[in-house]
């Protein structure tokens, strides 16, 4: 047994492109205390967001290096876990050998973004751990969102594999693409991008409208090794029109706050920064028209349901369906449409964004799903 198995470094996570450091809001386990795998170890906050960090493996929290109220750069060592059998000397030796304040590419997978241009289409792709050898994973976010919808997932899923979060046309840092609105057209447009980035196939995962697009891709144009659908559009009841219209019509902070709170089980999860970023995106010239066209083509009425049954039955590779039980946008009953043989997981105390609200649980489910598929 070597050090990497016996001594587990806890490093400052990196949630999204812009996070450079985090502050320890609270340690839930004190030095010398025991934690099970999956238990919340600490809370980290940035100027944008706060979230818990879970223990990846069980053990004793032997050293806390960065204390409550202190900040540390992403990827830097903040604590060490190990079993009781590991001596203090061994931990000292480990600490001496650990590269302090290393860049992300040493202490955790690197994240970069680039615009990929195929024909007329230009889309922004945020990539974690681009140099890794494993089968890549592609993430497709939902309506009105961007790659930050995966801020708690992308790095966590990038162990040994590249994870590409593609920003849908007219979303995030992808340029406005008026005329590209229906899920089928968007899927057709994205297929060459995915094939270009991952000529040897990839795992696909999509959330909400991104789930509908991922299903379409996996059933046809793309060699999908597995498919993960998180609260996908088209499987169950129509999208909540109050949300869609509220999102389209909200031009200011208060109405946007009320609308975004519909997305989550705990309204406190919606921060001022999320509201401001969403409004900033909606205020870009052309965003309003693009969003209205996309909503009209996919999310008003039953448009997204078209072809779902055929596409589900055309799938040959493993399917994971994840849904928040308290989803107020696309009700969790949609999971009943999953075909026999699919893995279906309903998440307690989560709304339409289980990958953010219960990120640790959802990351575990996706990681296990990818492992099974390989």
């Amino acid at each position: 047994m070597n050090d990497t198995d016996r001594i587990v470094p806890i490093t400052m996570p990196k949630w999204g492109m812009t996070m450079t450091e985090g502050k320890i809001a609270a340690w839930h386990v004190s030095e010398g205390g025991k934690a099970e795998a999956g238990e919340d170890l600490l809370d980290v906050e940035t100027d944008k967001i706060a979230n818990a960090v879970e223990a990846e493996k069980g053990g004793i929290l032997r050293r806390i290096l960065v204390h409550e109220g202190q900040s540390a750069p992403c990827g830097s060592l903040i604590a060490v876990m190990a079993e009781a059998a590991v001596s203090d000397e061994e931990i000292d030796e480990f600490l001496g050998g650990f590269a302090w304040f290393e860049q992300d590419d040493e202490a955790g997978p690197s994240v970069m973004e680039e615009i990929v241009e195929i024909g007329d289409l230009r889309v922004n792709v945020v990539t974690a751990n681009g140099g890794a050898e494993g089968t890549p994973l592609v993430l497709l976010h939902g309506f009105g969102a961007d790659a930050s919808a995966w801020m708690f997932n992308q790095q966590a899923l990038a162990a040994g594999r590249p994870v590409h979060a593609i920003e849908l046309p007219s979303h995030g840092n992808s340029p406005m693409a008026p005329g590209l609105a229906g899920f089928a057209e968007i899927a057709d447009a994205l297929a060459p991008v995915i094939k270009h980035l991952m000529p040897d196939g990839a795992h696909l995962a999509g959330h909400s409208l991104g789930g509908r697009i991922a299903l379409r891709l996996a059933a046809g144009a793309v060699d999908a090794r597995s498919l993960t659908l998180i609260a996908p559009a088209g499987l169950g009841a129509d999208a909540n029109e109050d949300f869609i219209k509220g999102f389209l019509n909200a031009e200011r902070r208060r109405p946007m706050k009320t609308t975004l709170q519909m997305l989550v089980a705990d309204p406190a999860a919606i921060t001022s920064d999320m509201i401001e970023r969403t409004l900033a995106y909606k205020r870009l010239d052309g965003a309003d028209a693009a969003l209205r066209a996309i909503a009209e083509a996919n999310l008003m009425g039953a448009a997204a349901a078209e072809g779902v049954a055929e596409e589900l039955s055309a799938l040959t590779r493993p399917l994971l369906v994840v849904w928040g039980r308290e989803d107020a946008i696309l009700p969790a009953s949609g999971a009943e449409a999953a075909p026999k043989g699919a893995t279906v997981e309903l998440i307690d105390a989560a709304g339409h964004m289980p990958q953010m609200e219960k990120s640790g649980k959802v990351n575990d489910l996706i990681a296990a799903h990818l492992e099974r598929a390989e």
Binding site: M176, R252, T271, S272, E276, A280, R283, D285
Partner: protein, 336 residues
């Protein structure tokens, strides 16, 4: 998206709107950039570098240097706006408004009302304001209360590069006269600014920071100082909200009242003179409409009622700083 300076963000807004709308014209003193030693044009991009490159891109028909006669060129802007252009006119220092106030107060601000809504005056008056540059009493004032006092004008005070761009684009697209005030000490501030065009609406405050213990309202350069004060207080476990209303007219009264209700403690930081300024104005709104929510007296952090001093030590002492804001928060919290 990329990091840009406040100056570059304003320059990008002007470029994008001039490109998108041929009715947009720019004029003022030295806006074609100034002549270099060898006769080179656009040598410095205007007195503060904001109009750099406009002359080369849009030519002398749309980027015009004016004589040093504010009353003439501000009046010309009002007239041009009435007849269909969208002029963006620059007064180098807002302190010079004295020589052309009639054009703004009695002409531009009144046209729409006095012609019964049959005409519009879509002009933007850009000017630098504020102390800190060692420029003495006649080049350092924060005169936004004068404009805020005049019905018919919209008054904008950006505090970040991102807001500078979005608010200037909104100002140019607005159909009414807008006074757009740029703090001269913010031009080199850096921040994330989207490359695409976007407009930030008037009358909506920016929530800079959220905390339950007190609410600090601040404009322009004072926003950064309020943030510094909030960061200092956070080290001691005191978490305050910092709100930048962004425009004084229209004023986002709703957000001011919302944060008053949430915190019960109000501190207003204003770089303008204390009499009849935004601190006084916001105080009156809070006292009148949210008195029951207050747990402590409303506190104002402002300069003294004197001209801006020239001596650097006096100018520094004149301006509200983070220490004074921290002190005000503590005094507010001392009321139980």
């Amino acid at each position: 998206m990329g990091r840009k300076s406040f100056r570059a963000a304003l320059n990008e807004a002007l470029h994008q709107e001039m490109k998108a709308d041929p009715r947009v014209v720019v004029f003022g003193e030295d806006v074609t950039g100034g002549t270099g030693g060898d006769g080179e044009q656009d040598a410095w991009g205007g007195a503060f570098g904001v109009t750099k490159g406009l002359l080369g891109a849009y030519g002398r028909e749309r980027v015009l240097d004016t004589p040093i006669t504010e009353s003439a060129f501000v009046g010309a802007a009002a007239g041009a706006a009435l007849t269909g252009l969208r002029p963006v006119v620059e007064i180098m220092f807002v302190d010079f408004i004295g020589v052309c106030l009639d054009q703004v107060m009695n002409q531009a601000a009144k046209f729409r009302y006095m012609f019964g809504g049959k005409t519009r005056c879509p002009m933007v008056l850009r000017a630098t304001f504020g102390a800190g540059a060692r420029s003495a009493s006649q080049h350092s004032q924060a005169l936004y209360p004068i404009f805020t006092h005049i019905p018919g004008l919209k008054v904008v005070i950006p505090s970040t590069p991102s807001d500078a761009k979005g608010l200037l684009i909104e100002a140019i697209r607005d159909d009414d006269p807008v006074v757009f005030l740029e703090h001269k000490m913010l031009y080199d501030e850096q921040g994330e600014v989207a490359d695409q065009s976007y407009a930030v609406p008037f009358g909506e405050a920016r929530i800079v920071r959220e905390g339950p213990d007190a609410a600090i309202f601040a404009y322009g350069r004072m926003v950064g100082r309020a943030e510094a004060a909030a960061a200092k207080l956070a080290e001691e476990g005191i978490n305050v909200s910092v709100i930048d209303p962004r425009t004084t007219s229209p004023l986002d009264t709703e957000t001011i009242l919302e944060f008053t209700e949430e915190t019960g403690r109000v501190i207003i930081v204003d770089e303008a003179s204390p009499r009849c300024g935004m601190a006084a104005d916001i105080s009156s709104i809070v006292a009148e409409q949210a008195f029951g929510a207050l747990r402590a007296p409303i506190l104002k952090v402002t300069p003294p009622h004197t001209p801006v001093p020239y001596a650097p030590s006096l100018e520094d002492a004149y301006l509200p700083d983070a220490a004074r804001i921290v002190d005000a928060v503590r005094r507010s919290l001392a009321h139980r």
